[in-house]
């Protein structure tokens, strides 16, 4: 997938829809493409949140654990959903570094665009105007979640 295609894909995602194309391109350019093989964990519940993933292809399952040791995926972890292409997972990591509330594990090979907390913050420092809506959007969601 080329940079241009990624930009098109991001444009179709409501969270990023408000960002102007040039900035979106810069965001895509400064992000890493990370591929996870089936069974690999993208992030674990309880870990510090340091990145958001936009799934480009493949499917991943969202797990939630109840009990003492959320870091272990075991019998007490329950699948609560699935994420597929164009899904944005762990988006709260863009603005907050509170621990993950879910675990994400690849079902098939999953190709992602990894937007690290750092990258996003850096983007905010250089062009706050264009990201205002994204932050508002995220803020609203976080407020609803808590």
């Amino acid at each position: 997938m080329l940079l241009q295609d990624e930009v098109t894909l991001l444009r179709g995602i409501p969270l990023f829809a408000s960002i102007e194309t040039m900035r979106l391109k810069l965001l895509a350019f400064t992000c890493d493409r990370v591929t996870f093989s089936a069974g690999q964990v993208l992030f674990r519940q309880g870990d510090a949140a340091n990145a958001t993933y936009v799934i480009l292809s493949g499917r991943a399952e969202i797990l939630q654990t109840t009990g003492d040791s959320p870091l272990q995926i075991g019998e007490n972890s329950k699948k609560i959903g699935e994420a597929g292409p164009r899904a944005v997972v762990g988006e709260s990591a863009l603005v907050s570094d509170r621990p993950r509330s879910q675990t994400l594990r690849a079902i098939t090979e999953v190709e992602t665009l990894r937007i690290s907390h750092d990258t996003f913050q850096k983007l905010l420092t250089c062009c706050p105007g264009s990201l205002e809506k994204v932050v508002e959007h995220l803020g609203g969601r976080l407020a609803r979640a808590s």
Partner: protein, 908 residues
């Protein structure tokens, strides 16, 4: 050391000075003959004196000497020769004399040089020998750079003077005296005039030079201080950067240089003023001769012939006189230099040489207890660090010493490690005062470690084994030319008062190495010690990032090639083949940059700048020749456009620029103007430099990483084709500076890891690098033999100056390990692992206590601990507070007391 340099020279080169003086005197004979001969040639055969009649002959080279009361003795009767043969004979004799003079000069110069160099070697050695014996406390006031400058630079001119020290004044003085006597003989008054003027020169010139000497001393000291400051800047560079004090340092250096400049300029001015006065005085004498001598001749007191002879004789006088005065100047100069150096090294706080005498024996074991009796220690400022402490450390005992920084715990360890001299009281080993014992006992039977050990420039291995190199235990065997060389070195060392310990002999006694086994050798001992301090994994890591001499160890290279295949197999087995995109002949590596694909190899490690420039020119030429430049140029333009677009209003110091591997933020404006200029321009009209500025942007392009869609299969194929052409057409000297990727060959210039991976790691796969790394480590550890070999490569890791290439933590670990590898009866550990976290400290304490006792030896261990909890590992616990012992009990009792206290507390 001898305070007078002249005496020092005489003391060490007496016999040679006399010898060279004799040679110089003998050399005078052919010298004067050669001066005299031209006159005979001109007067005799050329002008024809004595050959007036045709066929007349002259006796050629008759040789006779006249003895008083005896008469003439004819040594050679001479040969009667005609005019032409006489000319030939005399000319040949002249030639022979010239050659003989040349040879004399050659011999004298070489001999003087030899004398000088030997003396220089002797002085330098003596200075360093003293440095090694001066008590460490003295060095707190001296900068290393200053000492180095003294030993290296300041004594350098002393050697040059040595050869002339006695010969020159004897010779020049003789010449000057002869000329003076001659003048006296001709006329008393004129003699007195000449003598008086020479006296004036000798009286005035040294006076004028007094200030010069003072200045010379100042120059020497300020230059030395400059050297000290420069070393300080290098040592403190991180602090300077951290606190932005570089300009303060600049100011300091500029001020010093200004001071040195002022001194040096004044020296020049005065030096040439002295020369001017000296020359004027020398010219004054002929003036007086003409005036007074002329007057005396006119009134008839002396005849004209006498006056001419006096004036001629005087011509011979200024030369030697001037040189003599110059010699005196040099003498004073070197004397000052010598004094300035020697006084720095003449201290009473110096060990007797016997305390450091070489002891090649293993030395007896130290079976006595270490006894501290009523000991008081003071620091530099005179404050007490320990007060009236008595303590006995029995052989085999393990003691934990507890106390905070000012409790005296550190001080007692320093006293036991012989680092601190008692102000009162004593530290004894059995009956003997610890500080009076030779180093060969205390430095081997006691191992002292604090957290701040010093590391020498060299490999990790050199530093780890450093504490074992006390004396050459086995001589290196030499034969053939090496033996002759070694013998010569020994002889020469003796002539300069240097020792002849063989640096290349075996300095490590296996019996003194803990963990040394006949089978495992030193390597196992090193691995053992490094395992205890958890440094083995780091060493292994160093190995992975190191290169080694494949010529010396071809089988290791072969093993690693096997590992390359095994790694590939393991990746396939785990379904992880995508982690690495291997280098394949004839294939484009999708994870590699374009330039990697064009070159397809690594540059040799020992390449030089000229070869690199030649290689670049060749490479660029090839790109133009093959025509691929056009595509790369287009690609470069496209990359430039996109990048400038993306980053157009991003501030130049923004961290996003870190992600740009091919463009620096400050190059952006340049490329912006370049792009505007080049837009729509035909490639052929673009200048060479501009072309490659753009083309080189394409070099860094990796399609999967940058995702600009600029590479297609046709271009990939073309790049591979060009690669082949570049390689096959390269001239041989460029081939040597380059190693091509070849799956069947080990890359000498690449590190172990790159050789095993032999491809590009696909960074887009999650944690690709760590996964690949883990697999490689597992594979290596599965083969113990190979693991040891690789470990040995890691041991060659260079620590840099003062071990700065290691982190503080690793330095502390290594510092501790180098004590563990020594077999001693006493181990004094003075918070050696202060920087480590508690869990790791606990592990290392436990492991090292076990390690030091593992081989059946039972050394005493005194450990100053930062962490109370660790006392449970020791038999005895001594608590320090307020510079003295407040509690001393076996740990069992100590635990009991602590337990009771706990119970009491509960009761309360």
């Amino acid at each position: 050391m001898e305070p007078s340099f002249a005496k020092y020279i005489w003391q060490h080169t007496k016999a040679q000075q006399i010898w060279i003086l004799c040679i110089v005197l003998i050399s005078m004979l052919p010298y004067y003959l050669a001066l005299d001969l031209p006159k005979s040639i001109v007067n005799g055969p050329i002008q024809g004196a004595g050959f007036e009649a045709a066929g007349a002959t002259q006796t050629f080279m008759p040789l006779s000497i006249t003895l008083p009361w005896y008469g003439d003795i004819t040594l050679l009767p001479g040969v009667p020769l005609e005019r032409i043969p006489t000319l030939a004979g005399l000319s040949l004799a002249f030639l022979a004399l010239v050659i003989i003079n040349g040879l004399f000069k050659y011999y004298i110069n070489i001999f003087k040089g030899l004398l000088g160099e030997r003396l220089l070697r002797r002085i330098r050695y003596e200075l360093v020998d003293r440095i090694l014996r001066i008590l460490p406390g003295q060095f707190k006031h001296i900068k290393g750079g200053e000492v180095a400058s003294m030993v290296k630079d300041e004594v350098e001119p002393l050697g040059g003077f040595t050869g002339d020290a006695f010969v020159q004044p004897a010779l020049l003085g003789g010449q000057a005296l002869t000329a003076l006597i001659f003048i006296f003989v001709q006329d008393l008054w004129l003699g007195l005039v000449a003598f008086f003027m020479a006296g004036v020169q000798f009286a005035i010139i040294p006076r004028l030079r007094r200030r010069l000497i003072v200045l010379g001393r100042e120059r020497q000291i300020s230059a030395r201080q400059l050297a000290g400051r420069v070393t300080e800047i290098v040592d403190g560079i991180t602090t300077i950067h951290a606190y932005d004090t570089s300009n303060f340092e600049r100011a300091d250096i500029a001020a010093r240089l200004g001071h040195i400049f002022t001194i040096r300029y004044e020296i020049y001015r005065r030096k040439f003023m002295v020369k001017f006065i000296n020359n004027s005085l020398a010219q004054l004498t002929p003036f007086l001769f003409y005036l007074i001598g002329g007057y005396l001749a006119i009134i008839g007191r002396i005849d004209v012939g006498q006056l001419i002879a006096v004036i001629n004789a005087y011509k011979e006088l200024p030369g030697p006189l001037k040189e003599l005065i110059d010699w005196d100047l040099t003498r004073q100069d070197v004397q000052v230099k010598y004094e300035q150096v020697v006084e720095q090294f003449n201290t009473t706080a110096i060990l007797a040489p016997a305390l450091q005498a070489l002891d090649t024996g293993r030395g007896g074991k130290m079976r006595h207890p270490l006894t501290v009796q009523n000991l008081t220690l003071e620091d530099d400022a005179g404050g007490k660090t320990l007060e009236h402490v008595s303590l006995k450390v029995n052989p085999g005992e393990t003691i934990a010493i507890i106390g905070d920084a000012h409790s005296g715990a550190d001080a007692i360890a320093e006293a036991l490690g012989r680092l601190a001299l008692p102000s009162s009281g004593s530290v004894t080993a059995g009956e003997a005062d610890l500080n009076a014992l030779p180093h060969s006992i205390t430095g081997r039977r006691i191992s002292y470690v604090a957290s701040d050990g010093y590391f020498f420039f060299g490999s990790l291995k050199d530093n780890l084994l450093y504490g074992l190199k006390h004396a050459p235990v086995a001589a290196q065997t030499y034969d053939g030319p090496a033996l002759a060389r070694r013998k010569r070195h020994i002889k020469e060392a003796a002539r300069s008062g240097n020792p002849d310990f063989d640096l290349h002999g075996t300095w490590i006694n296996p019996r003194a190495v803990r963990g040394h086994t006949p089978k495992g050798g030193l390597l196992d001992a090193m691995i053992g010690a490094l395992d205890v301090v958890s440094l083995s994994d780091d060493v292994f890591e160093f190995a992975l990032h190191s290169t080694f001499d494949t010529k010396a160890e071809p089988d290791l290279a072969a093993d690693l090639l096997h590992l390359r295949q095994a790694f590939r197999g393991e990746l396939a087995r785990q379904g992880l083949s995508a982690l690495v995109v291997p280098f394949q002949a004839g294939g484009y590596n999708s994870e590699g940059r374009i330039v990697d694909n064009l070159l397809f190899g690594v540059l040799a490690a020992d390449r030089d700048a000229a070869t690199i420039a030649a290689g670049r020119d060749y490479f660029r030429g090839k790109l133009l020749e093959t025509g691929i430049y056009a595509q790369l140029y287009e690609m470069g333009l496209s990359i430039a456009e996109t990048t400038l677009d993306l980053f157009q209003d991003i501030p130049r110091d923004h961290p996003f620029f870190e992600r740009l591997s091919y463009l620096k933020p400050d190059e952006i404006p340049r490329f912006r103007t370049l792009l505007q200029r080049l837009k729509g321009q035909d490639f052929n009209a673009v200048s060479y430099e501009d072309r490659f500025a753009i083309i080189e942007l394409s070099f860094h392009y990796v399609e999967p990483q940058h995702r600009l869609g600029l590479l297609n299969d046709a271009l990939r194929t073309r790049i591979v084709e060009v690669r082949e052409q570049i390689f096959t057409d390269a001239p041989p000297h460029l081939h040597e500076a380059f190693e091509r990727y070849d799956a069947s060959l080990y890359l000498t210039s690449a590190n172990l890891l790159d050789n095993i991976v032999f491809g590009k790691i696909n960074h887009r796969l999650n944690e690709a690098e760590r996964q690949a790394h883990d697999i490689i480590t597992r594979l290596m550890k599965a083969k113990p033999g190979l693991y040891r070999r690789i470990f040995a490569v890691g041991l060659d890791y260079n620590l840099g100056a003062a071990g700065r290439r290691l982190s503080t933590i690793k330095r502390q670990k290594l510092n501790f390990a180098r004590a563990l590898i020594r077999r001693s009866e006493y181990y004094i550990f003075n918070r050696p692992l202060a920087g480590l976290d508690e869990a790791l400290q606990d592990q290392i304490v436990t492991r090292s206590l076990a390690y030091l006792r593992a081989d059946g030896s039972n050394p005493a261990i005194v450990w100053v601990l930062s962490n109370q909890l660790l006392t449970r590992h020791f038999q005895r616990r001594v608590v320090f507070s307020e510079r003295t012992v407040i509690d001393d009990a076996s740990t069992e009792t100590a635990t009991e007391i602590a337990g009771n206290m706990k119970v009491k507390r509960v009761d309360m």
